[in-house]
């Protein structure tokens, strides 16, 4: 049996690949959305990054 490029097996495999790609894409979107949500909810993020920033200094009483 000759296998043409449009054999049913190719269609199934193509559909499977598309499905996996869409699922992975959706997972990326969800993780990105979660990241945005968690960053939004948190306090302003500021930490040591090798340069002096007065805002990170503790105020003297």
């Amino acid at each position: 049996m000759a296998l043409g490029r449009d054999h049913e097996l190719h269609r199934r495999r193509g559909g499977r690949n598309t499905g996996v790609a869409l699922a992975l894409g959706a997972l990326i979107v969800v993780i990105f959305g979660l990241t945005v949500a968690k960053v939004e909810r948190g306090e302003p993020l500021e930490a040591y990054d090798h340069s002096f920033r007065p805002s990170l200094m503790e105020y003297a009483e």
């Binding site: 054999h7 097996l9 199934r12 499977r16 499905g19 969800v30 979660l34 945005v36 949500a37």
Partner: protein, 316 residues
């Protein structure tokens, strides 16, 4: 292209839909709904994205346990009429593929729920998967007629996982939501077991060697057990209504639904096999369909109470 296993019908090459079918989408829809209610009725608020992600990963965990169940049960799924069209018995997906997908999705769902919500919810989801696959599928299902009584706990965890995802802890209300599904499961499945027979009238579970109550203790005893569990379900359903997640609307729904459910169970109990066979198990089939509505109505009422609360109507 030489690695394609080709035959006239194209079998042996799974489509994406076959892998989706491994996740038992119909069971997953019930999980999504009850987990959503668990999230919605829990006190406190989470970011909508966190709630959505939690729901997604709870559903994915349920799907993972479905795939693992299909891997383990592929031998008996081939025998039973209800399950023989599943992807593994049909040969479209290899058992090893179902195992791989189930394990991968289990790990992904638990870790992601931990990161999205909290690790208590993730631990509970991991336990749910373990309970369904190991305790129910591998152990109880083939060894005891109480299989679905205890195994029903696996299906009862999702609203509790949803609650824990929001609050980080357990309270009376999620325990009652758990108990509602737990007590509902035996009547639901025993009604199914009563009418699942092949053309020769042989019990589907009996042919597969699954010790359902219908097989080990007979159909008369199953009818009696179905009624007993239905009666035991009533105080759980009504009891949930007097907690913080209940309210007048829920109580009205619960009263009507439980009255009808008990009535259906009494009808099943009073029938003999000749009468049941004569109308092709019409009463049992109706009871089974109604059991789905019963659960949907209860959790829908919980949800409605939670939605109405901000408007000043829901709750007591």
């Amino acid at each position: 292209m030489s690695d394609i296993r080709a035959d006239e019908h194209g079998t042996g090459e799974a489509g994406f839909g076959d892998f989706v079918a491994l996740l038992k989408p119909r069971v997953m829809s019930l999980v999504v709904f009850t987990a959503l209610v668990g999230i919605a009725v829990a006190p406190g608020a989470v970011h909508p994205m966190v709630a959505f992600a939690s729901l997604l990963f709870i559903a994915l965990g349920a799907g993972a346990s479905g795939a693992l169940n299909m891997w383990w049960d592929s031998d008996i799924d081939t025998i039973m009429r209800r399950t023989r069209r599943r992807p593994v018995p049909q040969g479209r997906v290899a058992p090893g593929e179902a195992l791989g997908l189930g394990l991968a999705l289990s790990g992904l769902s638990v870790v992601m729920l931990g990161l999205a919500a909290n690790w208590a919810a993730a631990g509970l989801l991991a336990f749910t998967i373990f309970f369904y696959v190991v305790i129910y599928s591998m152990w109880l299902k083939r060894t005891t007629p109480q299989n679905i009584v205890i195994g029903g706990a696996a299906g009862a965890f999702p609203p509790m996982v949803g609650w824990v995802a929001v609050t980080g802890g357990i309270a009376l209300e999620p325990v009652l939501m758990f108990a509602l599904i737990f007590m509902w499961t035996p009547p639901h499945f025993w009604a199914l077991a009563l009418f699942m027979r092949d053309a020769q009238g042989r019990d589907d579970y009996g042919r597969a060697g699954v010790p359902m109550l219908t097989v080990t203790h007979g159909r008369r005893v199953t009818r009696a057990h179905l009624l007993a569990y239905t009666l035991a379900l009533v105080p759980v359903a009504l009891g949930a209504g007097i907690t913080a997640i209940g309210g007048p609307l829920y109580m009205a729904v619960a009263l009507v639904m439980n009255a009808l459910f008990v009535l259906g169970a009494v009808r099943i109990w009073r029938r003999d096999e000749a009468a049941a066979a004569a109308d092709d198990f019409a009463v049992e089939k109706r009871f089974f369909r109604f059991s789905l509505l019963y659960l949907f109505a209860h959790f829908g009422a919980f949800l409605a109470e939670a939605m109405l609360a901000p408007l000043g109507f829901g709750g007591w």
